[in-house]
C-alpha cells in the first residue's frame, strides 16, 4: 500500500480522566476532511495530540511518510498549521498577528521580517479579505473577521496540511458559508489538505469529502458523508432522533432534527 500523505496509526493520547485510544486515520493529499462527533467525544483532544500539546501515549503519526516526532518543531510548523478556536490575544494589530505565521521560517537571530515575509502576509490577508483591517487590533474585529485573520496567519506558514478546530463556531450562516467556501477554494486551488473539527453535521456533509466520526474517545466510523451520516449511526452516537434526507441541490445527506414536541404529536397521530 502506498503510504498516504498524513497517517495516524494506532494512536492514543489524553489527560488523566480522558483518553483517546486506537485511532487509525489516513488522509490523502488534497483531501478535505471533517471530524465530527458529540461534545466530549475527543475531537479537540485528537488535535491537541497531533500538535503535541499533550503527550502521545501510544502509536505514531506520519506526515509524508516521516514520523512526526522526527520533525523539529519549526519544520513541523512549516508543514502543518493549526487554527484553534480564537481566544483573547494581546493587544496586537492584524498585520503583526498574521506576520507571526512567518516565524517558523525565521532563523534564530533574525529580528526583522524580510520583505518576502511582509509580501506573503499581505497576499494571504488579501485572499482571506482581512487586508483592509490590517492596522486594526485583533480585538476590534468581529468573530468572522478574527477567524479569517487566524486562517490568514495559518496560511502564511505556507503549510501543506491545515488543521482547524471548529472554524465556524459562533458564526452566523453567512459567515459560516464564507469561511467554508474560502477553505474549499484553498483546498481546490492550492492543493491544501484540510482537516477540520466541525460540529454542524449539515455543513460537514456539504463541504467534506471524508468524514471521521468520534464517539467516547474512539473512532466510531469513517467514510464519505453518505456512508457516515446514516440514520442508524447518528442515532447510536448522538442518541438523538433525526431524519436523514438528501439535499436536492448537492445530493449530499442532510440531517433534520426531531423535537420532543413533534415526537409526541407523531406518536398521537399514529
Amino acid at each position: 500500500m502506498k503510504p498516504s500523505f498524513f497517517h495516524i496509526e494506532n494512536f492514543s493520547c489524553g489527560y488523566p480522566g480522558f483518553k483517546l485510544s486506537g485511532i487509525n486515520l489516513s488522509l490523502e493529499k488534497g483531501s478535505f476532511s471533517g471530524i465530527i462527533g458529540p461534545n466530549g467525544s475527543g475531537k479537540t483532544t485528537l488535535f491537541r495530540g497531533i500538535t503535541s500539546s499533550i503527550a502521545t501515549l501510544e502509536g505514531r503519526i506520519f506526515l509524508k511518510g516521516k514520523d512526526l516526532q522526527l520533525f523539529s518543531l519549526k519544520e513541523r510548523a512549516r508543514k502543518m498549521a493549526i487554527v484553534t478556536q480564537f481566544t483573547d490575544t494581546d493587544q496586537i494589530s492584524v498585520e503583526d498577528y498574521v506576520l507571526m505565521g512567518r516565524m517558523p521560517y525565521h532563523h534564530r537571530f533574525q529580528f526583522f521580517e524580510s520583505k518576502n515575509d511582509v509580501e506573503k502576509a499581505h497576499k494571504y490577508m488579501q485572499l482571506t479579505d482581512v487586508f483592509k483591517h490590517k492596522d486594526k487590533l485583533m480585538t476590534e474585529l468581529s468573530g468572522g473577521e478574527q477567524q479569517r485573520a487566524a486562517i490568514a496567519r495559518a496560511l502564511t506558514q505556507e503549510p501543506e496540511l491545515l488543521l482547524l478546530d471548529e472554524p465556524t463556531s459562533h458564526l452566523d450562516i453567512t459567515h459560516q458559508v464564507r469561511i467554508l467556501d474560502l477553505l474549499h477554494r484553498l483546498n481546490q486551488e492550492m492543493g491544501l489538505t484540510v482537516l477540520m473539527v466541525i460540529h454542524d453535521l449539515n455543513l460537514a456533509s456539504e463541504y467534506c469529502d471524508q468524514l471521521v466520526l468520534f464517539n467516547e474517545g474512539r473512532l466510531f466510523t469513517q467514510g464519505t458523508p453518505e456512508e457516515v451520516l446514516t440514520f442508524d449511526t447518528i442515532e447510536k452516537v448522538y442518541k438523538t432522533p433525526v431524519i436523514t434526507r438528501t439535499n436536492p441541490y448537492s445530493n449530499k445527506p442532510v440531517i433534520f432534527l426531531v423535537s420532543e414536541k413533534m415526537m409526541k404529536q407523531g406518536g398521537e397521530n399514529r
Partner: protein, 349 residues
Amino acid sequence: MHECKNIKEILIAQGKYIKWMLGLLFMLGLLLAAVALGLSVGELNLSPGSVLRMLLFGGDDGSMEYLLISRIRLPRVVLGVAVGGSLSLAGVILQGIYRNPLVEPFTLGISGGASLGVAFTIVMGLHLSLGSFMLPLSGFIGAFVIIFLVYTISSRRGAINIQNMLLTGVMISFIASSAMMFLMATTSSDNLHGIVFWIMGSLDEPNTGLINLTLIVSLVVLVISYLFVQPLNALRLGEEKALHLGFNTNVVIRVLFILASLLAGICVSVSGVIGFVGLIIPHVLRLLFGSDYRFLLGGSFLLGGIFLVLSDVVARTIISPNELPIGVITGIIGGLVFLLLMSQKRKGK
C-alpha cells in the same frame, strides 16, 4: 546577503521599525542626560561640563570634587542604571511569560524572600559577626530559596503550569512577609530600624565590586533575553499557539523565568526593595509603542535606567541634606505619570 540588500526596503515598508529605532535612540540620549544630571546635582552642584571634563581628561587630581564624583556619585548613578534597567527588564520578561501585564518581579515573592533573608541576618546579628557582605548575600539567598520553591511546586511531570506558578508565588510571598513580621515583632528596636531601612531600598551601596557585578549581569541578561525575543513574541498569542509556531515553550519559559529571577534577586540584594519600576516602565512603553518584545526588552532597560537615576536625583535633593527612600519617589512619580498617560490615552480614543 539577501536580507541585508532588502533591509532598506523593509524599513520603508515597516514604519514600526523606524518608530522603534527613533524611540530607542531618544531614550539613549535621555539616559545620557539623566546620568549627567545625576553626576552634577546634589548637595554640591557642579556644571555637567566640568563633570565631563573631570571624568574624561581630568584624572585624579585629588580635589574634593573629583572624589565626590568618582567615589560617591558615579557608583550611585551606575547602580541606578543597572538596577532600574534590570527591574524593568525582569518585569517585562515576566509579564511576557505569564501573559499578564500586572506581574512584576516582586509579585512572585522574590522581594519577600530577600527581605526575609536580610531580616533573619539582622536579627541573628550575622552581619556584625561575619561582615556586612552578609546583607546582600542573605538577600540573594532568600530570593533564590523562594524562586526555587515557586518553581518546583508549580512544575509537575516536566511541565510548568504557568497559572499555578503565579498563584504559588503570591501565596509564598504572603507567607514570607508574615514570617518577617514575626521576626520584626519579636526583635529589638535597633534591629527593627535596620530591617525597615533595608526594606525601603536605596542606591547607596558602598561596595563597587557589587555595583560592577550588577551592571555586568544586567547587560548580559539583556543580550541573552534578545535570543528569546521571537518565542516571547509568539507567547503573546498563548502558550499553545507559540508551540504551533515551532517554539519549545516549556524550555523558553523556564529559561526566561530563571533569567528574570536572577535579575530581580541581584537587584533586591544590592539595593533593597524598589517596587513599581518593573510594573510601570513596561506598561508605559506598551501604551506608547505597543507590545512587540523586540522593542520592549531594550526599551524597558533604557527607560528603567532613566527613571531610577532621575528618581534618585529627586530622592537625594528634595529634602537635602537628608535623603528620602527612593521607593517613595518611584511610587509617587511613577503612579502619577501612569495615571496621566492612561487618561490621555482614553481621551485620544
